[in-house]
């Protein structure tokens, strides 16, 4: 596979122009709108970027300025990003479901000058921030619906901006080319937010030259070309989506497809039949869980085929092969149904994934591979290779990426530190954090891990999350949580036990499936809260916990748990936008519950503040029952611990 020379094409605008010249009629992007897939060729793509960048320059945006994007994944977003790079500006992606104050923090911190805010909802966030978004001089929107008369003079229609750009291009056809020539691979192009499990996100500074070179390093480990189809479903600001939509798109000419809406994602995915796919572990888990839920509604014979097929397939995978029988009777149909028929390469990353889910997809014939990386390191720098069954490791490092274990203990476990030539240049306007994470050129990831005999990296958990009970037993909460989450009935779980005598859990039921289960068993309920409080649901989850306990060493078993009255939510700060649990927040907010879990109490009382979707706050009081696992009375367990 040959890719454009990174020494010549070291910025996204240069790559785009190169593709548009070499393959003007080839489809670069597809967007589903009004029920139809609309194609954008490389020629159209370049023309759009040209109009936008000349428009930006006309607005006075240039080197050193920051342009932010806020909205759904679509062509306007990525064209805006490339156009901003063309005028020498830096870009900052903001998660589309970010609340006003989060948007305010980022915009203010980075001194954003112009924002592409897709629709009225996003524009409203900026307008109502008022002085808190004082640096913002231009707000560009693409969806006219509901925009009507805007009182704010900063608000501008993208179509108008593009018209202005087109007029400027007609007046001076050489202007855009000169701008593209002037872009430099050494300049900082992307400010990428870190996931911020602990605090406000930091902004990693990435230069476009490094971005391009790292993408080529990645492509060497997992080659792609113009026949590859990718469906963009990850949050656009996330580093991996940037790598795929912009990096793989520009360098390997992989076609990027944008679904119609968040809800139609799976239907659109099936229509495209992607050859390459990366989903967060949560999404893979959700697909597996939905599959199981749907089969609960199927006829007895279909259920039998499903169970038999899964059993055969899973057994075969454990023996390192695939079951042909299972493929014919079940998996080929499943792959087609899910839109995975053409998948040549699939990946999961961002956080750990339950081994059972992982095996299920391998059994299905989806060549799922785990990858590992950080925003600071431009995303992934390790990826599983070969066809061995490997549910534990994240594979070896890419060529040219150094990974080592700092201060390993007797078992070889220590902090993962890493470096490569194309890593980030530091955190934007945050020398202190840069110094803390980047020591002697090595990025300190804060993750605990070790290498196996084949030099494959195994990531255990966040270093600070590896906990120890009062009795000195070390355990990884995340590892146990993932085991729990493989149950279709468990949506989210938080394992507690650091500095305590034994382990307990706060569990959120997976509403869609437990609701269906309740319906089938004729259990009446009105809401998530009601369902979670239902004794039979407690019994159901209790059995799941026992099943997980059976696979754990005795000292790491869950003794008591409760079902939380609500789902953990990113808007409440309990999860990050990439849906990782924020343990600090959970520990603080549900301190009352945790104390009750470790007291003799049979129920726990909570009195807390919640944030509604529109940002307003309210108080909530709730009582939750605590369940002993295995039915042993609490007092006895306490003595045993």
């Amino acid at each position: 596979m040959s890719y454009p020379d990174p020494a010549v094409y070291d910025t996204l605008p240069k790559l785009l122009r190169h593709n548009a010249q070499a393959h003007p009629g080839e489809v670069a992007l597809r967007l589903k709108e009004f029920g139809i897939w609309h194609e954008t060729t490389w020629g159209d793509y370049l023309a759009k970027v040209r109009r936008m960048s000349l428009g930006f320059r006309d607005l006075g945006i240039g080197a050193g300025d920051v342009v932010a994007m806020l909205g759904d994944n679509d062509i306007d977003w990525i064209a805006c990003e490339v156009a901003a790079h063309a005028v020498g500006a830096m870009t900052l992606g903001i998660y589309r479901d970010a609340l006003e104050e989060e948007v305010g923090y980022l915009v203010d911190y980075a001194g954003v000058k112009a924002v592409f805010a897709q629709n009225q909802e996003q524009v409203d966030k900026l307008v109502s921030l008022g002085d808190k978004a004082g640096t913002v001089q231009h707000i560009v929107y693409s969806e006219t619906r509901g925009m009507g008369e805007q009182g704010d003079p900063r608000v501008l229609d993208l179509a108008v901006l593009e018209q202005r750009g087109e007029a400027l291009h007609q007046a001076d056809p050489a202007a855009f080319d000169a701008m593209v020539e002037a872009t430099s691979g050494d300049a900082i192009a992307i400010l990428c937010t870190t996931s911020g499990t602990t605090s406000n996100p930091k902004l990693a500074m990435l230069s476009s030259g490094r971005f391009v070179r790292h993408v080529i390093t990645y492509l060497k480990a997992d080659p792609k070309d113009h026949t590859d189809e990718y469906v963009s479903v990850l949050p656009m600001p996330w580093i991996m989506e940037q790598i795929y939509c912009l990096g793989f798109g520009m360098i390997a000419r992989m076609t990027v497809n944008f679904p119609e809406s968040e809800e139609t994602m799976f239907a659109d995915l099936r229509e495209i039949g992607p050859t390459f796919l990366l989903l967060a572990p949560r999404l893979w888990e959700q697909i597996a869980a939905d599959m199981r839920a749907r089969i609960m509604d199927a006829s007895a014979i279909n259920q039998w085929i499903f169970d038999k097929g899964i059993k055969l397939g899973m057994k075969a995978i454990e023996e390192g092969r695939r079951s042909g029988v299972a493929d014919v009777m079940l998996f080929s149909a499943l792959r087609d149904r899910l839109g995975f028929s053409r998948v040549r390469s699939a990946a999961t990353g961002g956080s750990a994934m339950g081994p059972e889910t992982f095996k299920l997809f391998l059994a299905m014939g989806v060549p799922l591979k785990q990858l590992y990386g950080q925003t600071e390191m431009l995303g992934a720098y390790t990826l599983q290779v070969g066809n061995d069954l490997d549910v534990d490791t994240v594979g070896p490092a890419f060529e040219g990426c150094d990974v080592k274990i700092l201060n390993p203990d007797v078992e070889g476990v220590g902090e993962i530190v890493t470096r490569h030539d194309n890593m980030f240049l530091g955190y934007f306007r945050n020398e202190e954090a840069t110094k803390a994470d980047l020591r002697d050129g090595w990025m300190h990831t804060g993750d605990a891990g070790y290498f196996d005999a084949k030099m494959r990296l195994i990531v255990i958990d966040r270093l600070k999350d590896i906990a120890e009970t009062a009795g000195g037993v070390r355990f990884s909460p995340q590892y146990i949580e993932n085991k729990l989450k493989f149950s279709p009935y468990v949506g989210e779980a938080v394992i507690l036990g650091s500095g305590r005598e034994y382990l307990t859990a706060i569990i959120c039921v997976r509403f869609s499936i437990v609701a269906k289960w309740a319906e089938k068993n004729r259990i009446g309920f009105t809401s998530y809260t009601g369902l979670s409080a239902e004794p039979r649901v407690y019994d159901l989850i209790g059995k799941e916990v026992e099943r997980v306990n059976a696979s754990l060493p005795e000292k790491q078993r869950i003794r008591r748990f409760l079902l939380l009255y609500k789902e953990l939510d990113a808007d409440d700060g309990e999860l990050t936008r990439t849906r990782k649990v924020r343990r600090g927040v959970v520990g603080e907010r549900y301190g009352q519950l945790i104390d009750s879990l470790y007291a003799d109490a049979e129920s726990a009382h909570l009195d807390t503040e919640v944030t509604f979707e529109d940002g307003r706050k309210g108080r909530v009081q709730a009582d939750m029952r605590i369940m002993e696992v295995g039915g042993a009375p609490a007092a006895e367990l306490k003595k045993a611990g």
Binding site: E33, F34, E260, S261, E263, T264, A267
Partner: protein, 276 residues
């Protein structure tokens, strides 16, 4: 949480001053009876272009009968209806439908076994001119016509944010979504006047909030005149420009929400009167 409080947030986005055009529909001295019962007794009012008019009143006040007179389903015993410059003793249903009056029903009237898309396409039937045979062979002009109408329907789907249920049979949809599909079918007719019979009955707060937003947006974006019947006073007071109050078939008030709220007769009708 109070519904009214949520719905008030919509007000902030609306321009303070709204002006309306000439009357597009006038009802004069309408009397409607079933046997000895007078459902509507000498009611007159006008609907002005571009406004959102709410008809309210206690149960059995004659609200739905009023809508049925407007779209020609019922024939009034006496009185007249003026629409599109034509003054008639009763509306002709076909004239109403082909001249831009569309409605939704209190008890959803969709084809339950058909998909959302197909249900919306039925709203376009009046816009299609080719006959049955043309469509059976589906060629040339007939195909072109189908595609044009499909395109319009897709815009409605996009507007109401129902892309994900495009292919789902409506019988399988939750109630709130069925209501939205029904609104979609009415919109597919490109109406000048939209009659909504309890568009928010049986909905939860969130669904009401969505529906209010759609009603306001239809009015704002397409300039559609809207006549709606609704029991939720919070919704009525927040989204209507004008309110007509019926009680026992008679009109007892007609004015802005504030005027109606302060009207003693309305208060009596809703809260009852003390009998000496």
């Amino acid at each position: 949480m109070a519904e009214a409080e949520i719905l008030q947030t919509f007000e902030a986005g609306q321009p303070a001053e709204r002006s309306f055009g000439e009357p597009v529909l006038a009802l004069e001295n309408i009397v409607l009876g079933f046997g000895g019962v007078k459902a509507i007794d000498d009611v007159s009012f006008e609907v002005r272009k571009g406004e959102i008019l709410a008809i309210i009143g206690p149960n059995g006040a004659g609200k739905s009968s009023m809508l049925n007179c407007i779209n020609g389903f019922y024939k009034p015993r006496s009185g007249s209806i003026t629409f599109k410059g034509r003054r008639m003793p009763a509306m002709d249903p076909h004239f109403a439908a082909s001249n831009g009056i569309a409605r939704t029903f209190q008890n959803i009237a969709l084809f339950r076994g058909m998909s959302t898309l197909d249900n919306l396409m039925t709203g376009r039937v009046l816009k299609m001119n080719r006959g049955f045979l043309w469509h059976a062979i589906y060629w040339g002009p007939a195909q072109r016509e189908e595609l044009e109408n499909r395109e319009f329907v897709e815009r409605v789907i996009d507007f109401l944010e129902i892309q994900a249920i495009r292919r789902t049979p409506v019988g399988r949809l939750p109630y709130g979504l069925q209501k939205r599909v029904e609104l979609g079918r009415a919109l597919a007719m490109e109406p000048d006047i939209l009659l909504l019979d309890e568009p928010m009955a049986g909905m939860n707060v969130e669904e009401k909030q969505d529906m209010s937003r759609f009603i306001l947006e239809v009015n704002e974006e397409f300039g559609t005149t809207i006549v709606l019947i609704e029991h939720d006073m919070g919704v009525v007071m927040d989204i209507s420009d004008r309110v007509v109050v019926l009680d026992y078939g008679r009109k007892i008030a007609d004015g802005t929400p504030d005027e109606v709220r302060a009207n003693q007769q309305v208060i009596d009708a809703y809260l009852g009167v003390a009998h000496d």
